[in-house]
């Protein structure tokens, strides 16, 4: 496995430190939020499928940090982190997982279907690849209106074999849509390692079939993610050139809560944990950016509080309602 060396950084300007601190905060909150969710799941307070993002946080946080609030995000069922990074409060996410009416999707969507119109988070989708053309459509609307917005579409390595992925990219490339496709290559689709699901090792090669721009890098450094996705966003926004980006990452947990994950060795997981994006960012802040330990501790304490409050909010919220269910199938 190729090891990445921490890129040496010159003593950074304070704004840069503040920015990384914020990204670190987001990653940490997502981590704590999902840990809390896993606990609640084990207690039977959350049901259904629960796909944790633990280990991949730098991808969503770094990529979404490069967006402006008007830009759109479309994601999969593994989207707690994306929603949070796009602005959905942890309490609204947690309440959704609990099936409460105060949940971001009123308790009707659950873990896989977080939606947040106010923050231009256009949802988590459960059919692998099925949201890719939809994301192209959101970008199509931006082009149609000339509103200058860009759409970020996230998906896993498993999506790359789906017809909908192909068609979504075909149309984005043909019509020069302002969109960036991010393949979060965590190297497994459920229990299947990449080499048993794809005939190529470099997923970004798929871009060649569409004459699309492409990029490919490792995803443990949230700043690198922000920077490289930022370049693609600029191409999308200014030149109307879509990009397919493959970001290598790893999920530390099973595919979902019900997956014991026996298809990976302990050693492999341990090796990857050395590149955990959350401590990586912390260490950068502490050692390379001179952020005092006390400030870090305060930030971490704030995260803890935020998530505790979110859990409390979820637990105390009233359940999803039949009325919402019945009235939301159709708009009257």
């Amino acid at each position: 496995m190729r090891r990445l060396e921490r890129e040496a950084r010159e003593s950074p300007p304070p704004a840069e430190r503040a920015r990384l601190a914020e990204l670190y905060r987001q990653m940490l909150c997502i981590r704590r939020m999902e840990e809390a969710a896993a606990k609640a799941y084990a207690q039977g307070k959350i049901g259904g499928f629960l796909h944790l993002y633990i280990g991949q946080e730098a991808v969503a946080v770094g990529a979404i940090a490069a967006l402006s609030p008007d830009d759109y995000v479309v994601a999969t069922y593994r989207e707690h982190g994306h929603a949070y990074a796009k602005g959905t409060p942890a309490r609204a996410i947690m309440a959704e997982l609990y099936g409460r009416s105060s949940g971001i999707s009123k308790g009707l969507g659950g873990s896989m279907h977080l939606f947040d119109a106010a923050h231009n988070f256009l949802g988590g989708y459960g059919i692998v690849g099925g949201h890719v053309p939809l994301a192209s459509g959101v970008a199509f609307a931006s082009k149609y209106r000339g509103d200058g917005r860009v759409t970020l579409c996230f998906f896993g390595d498993g999506s790359a074999s789906q017809g909908a992925f192909h068609e979504g990219l075909c149309l984005a490339a043909l019509w020069h849509l302002p969109i960036v496709f991010i393949c979060e290559n965590n190297q497994y689709s459920m229990g299947t390692p990449l080499y048993r699901s794809l005939s190529i090792e470099d997923v970004s090669q798929k871009a060649l079939a569409y004459g699309m721009a492409r990029d490919r890098f490792d995803g443990e450094d949230v700043l690198r993610v922000r920077e490289r996705v930022g370049e693609a966003l600029r191409r999308a926004r200014e030149d109307h050139v879509p990009t397919l980006i493959e970001i290598k990452t790893y999920r530390f947990r099973g595919h979902s809560m019900s997956d014991p994950g026996q298809y990976r060795t302990k050693e492999e997981i341990e090796e990857w944990k050395k590149r955990d994006p959350v401590p990586f960012a912390r260490q950068t802040l502490l050692e390379h950016m001179g952020m005092p330990e006390a400030e870090l501790a305060a930030l971490e304490e704030a995260c803890k509080k935020e998530i505790e409050e979110a859990v409390q909010f979820a637990e105390q919220s009233p359940p999803a309602t039949e009325e919402d269910m019945l009235s939301s199938t159709y708009e009257p």
Partner: protein, 326 residues
């Protein structure tokens, strides 16, 4: 009232709505430069330009998905499927995305989108190109389904569909495009969920939609010569369904035949039968009969296609049956 073709009526509906609302656009295979595979969008590219009349590659899942995404952020797409047979490669987009997004987002995202195109058999197009798939899409909550039989209904329902804030499956009759009919002048819309009595009659209620209205009208004419008066109820939309109109008609006639072009099993005809026997149990003098396509894939040969499709003769036979004639 001006007389126009069913095709032209659809064109008017789209053109009027596009003139009225910048957010409406038309997308599909051959809708622009080619002027539509069935010429429904004739002239629209010239009138509205490439921005709003958009030719696509052969990628139905792709462009149906594109329409869905665009609708989520406020555009009002009209997505043309060259025929509904090809919707099967996009079934996931229609059933798992379009039908569900509003509810699974807790009502945050509405989907004002129309999927339209011709359904049913044309002439000898064989099994993959001759399917009446309305029963499949009518099954799915979250979708609306309109299926007009006349130019006036085609125009009025399509305008309503375009203005509706929900995803609408809009199935045109592939063999009806040339049908001429009167259309009310000026603004003309037909509400969803309101059926229409295409022929009044006292003896038997025939429920039929799309092309089967015309087959039923022929049968009714033949039966009228024998003194049997059929009432033909065209629900016009299957979702929502004007159950009341059907049931009230059956309560008058005490007999019901459903005529549908699709396959029998789990067809919408069964749905109508279920509702009728439930709501008019004591009024029925005979079991509800249905006339459907035979339960086979459509063969190519012309005479066999006629055997498979509901015909005037089979409708007459079904009416006679519920009347216990012969």
């Amino acid at each position: 009232m001006p007389t126009v073709s069913y095709r032209e009526a659809l064109n008017q509906a789209m053109s009027e709505e596009m003139a009225r609302d910048e957010r409406v656009f038309l997308m599909g295979e051959e809708v622009g430069h080619y002027q539509g595979a069935y010429k429904v969008s004739q002239g629209m590219l010239q009138r509205f330009g490439e921005k709003r009349v958009i030719d696509t590659p052969i990628a139905e899942a792709g462009f149906c998905g594109v329409g869905i995404g665009a609708a989520m952020v406020g555009l009002r797409p009209i997505i043309e499927l060259m025929t509904w047979n090809f919707s099967l490669v996009a079934a996931d987009q229609l059933i798992n995305n379009a039908a569900k997004i509003r509810q699974m987002s807790g009502g945050q995202f509405s989907l004002p989108i129309v999927f339209r195109g011709p359904g049913g058999a044309a002439h000898q197009l064989a099994s993959q190109h001759s399917q009446a798939l309305e029963s499949i899409y009518a099954h799915v909550p979250g979708l609306r389904l309109a299926i007009p039989s006349t130019p006036a209904d085609a125009k009025g329902l399509l305008k309503t569909a375009i203005r509706d804030p929900n995803p609408v499956i809009f199935i045109e009759g592939e063999t009806l495009y040339g049908l001429q009919g009167e259309i009310p002048e000026g603004e003309h819309t037909v509400p969803f969920g309101v059926g229409d009595i295409k022929r009044p009659g006292r003896d038997v209620t025939i429920v039929a939609w799309s092309k089967m209205v015309h087959v039923s009208l022929q049968a009714a004419a033949a039966l009228a010569a024998e003194g049997i008066e059929c009432e033909i109820v065209d629900p016009r939309t299957l979702r929502p369904l004007d159950e009341l109109l059907i049931v009230e008609s059956v309560k008058r006639t005490n007999r019901c035949v459903v005529v549908e072009e699709g396959w029998p099993v789990s067809g919408f005809g069964a749905e109508v039968a279920y509702r009728v026997q439930k709501a008019a149990f004591d009024d029925l003098d005979a079991p509800v009969e249905r006339v459907t396509a035979l339960d086979v894939p459509m063969p190519y040969a012309k005479h066999l296609e006629h055997v498979v499709l509901p015909s005037q003769e089979r409708v007459v036979a079904a009416v006679n049956k519920v009347l216990y004639r012969e």
